[in-house]
Symmetry: C2
């Protein structure tokens, strides 16, 4: 089936520069980081700063090397939480280690974006940047199971 399709290879379009040097639980709501974009793509960032928030897709490279990912994990590594399917979590140990964060865009200067709330470690390859579109990207009536809010 789908796996017979030709390879899908990503190019890094930039890199995260952050004070976060080690993977940690998603908790980085106040962290300010830079995204340094490939200088050849500087023009592709034009108009992005007309948006207050952006979506960043990135490659969780430290997890990408650990071999076959598990199909079940404990959310946020918490032993008291039930073992659940990995697609029901945001665990980086997933078949394609692509992370997705919605962050506030503080400033764009040339090929550098200053953002707030990006929970990706220093050196993380960035694969895409998209504008956050209220309505398209947000849901007003979303429901989550109880174990998500149990901390």
């Amino acid at each position: 089936m789908a796996n017979e399709l030709p390879g899908m290879t990503l190019k890094a379009i930039g890199v995260v520069r952050s004070e976060i040097k080690q993977p940690s639980m998603p908790d980085g709501k106040d962290v300010v980081s830079d995204i340094v974009v490939d200088v050849n793509l500087t023009e592709a960032l034009d108009n992005l700063d007309e948006f207050s928030h952006i979506i960043v897709l990135y490659w969780m490279h430290q997890r990408a090397a650990t071999g076959q990912p598990p199909t079940k994990v404990r959310p946020m590594g918490k032993q008291k939480l039930p073992l659940v399917g990995v697609f029901a979590t945001r665990s980086p140990d997933r078949p394609n280690p692509v992370g997705k964060a919605t962050v506030r865009l503080l400033q764009r200067q040339g090929n550098t974006l200053k953002v707030k709330g990006l929970d990706a470690i220093d050196g993380t390859p960035v694969i895409d940047i998209k504008p956050y579109l209220p309505g398209y990207d947000s849901v007003t009536d979303a429901k989550v199971p109880q174990w998500v809010t149990k901390r």
Copy 2:
């Protein structure tokens, strides 16, 4: 810089089955589609149906073959809109043709997810599925430029 990192290769974890056969403008809020996940990953879907909404990352394969993407595009192909940086749009003609949709999960049956609102064409490779987390994935005070809402 980032481009010197080793190749980042995606595996399709599933495929979209939809009545949408041709790329179109994002307009598919009411379309019901199936995501047929690799049968070896069936267990990884456990617990996903405890969430009302999911995030789907997919490979816009029809655009992936068209060579060097432009750095500037007209949003939604509309000639009356200004030429803007491609990262300020959701155009599929981007350096890495990865699409992101937030959709309602109607049903999970084995390795098949029935979803509402996925604007991806039939045969689209799916690369990741994540639970939608209000607060983490949503923004209450997001601002967008006027050209986004001008239709």
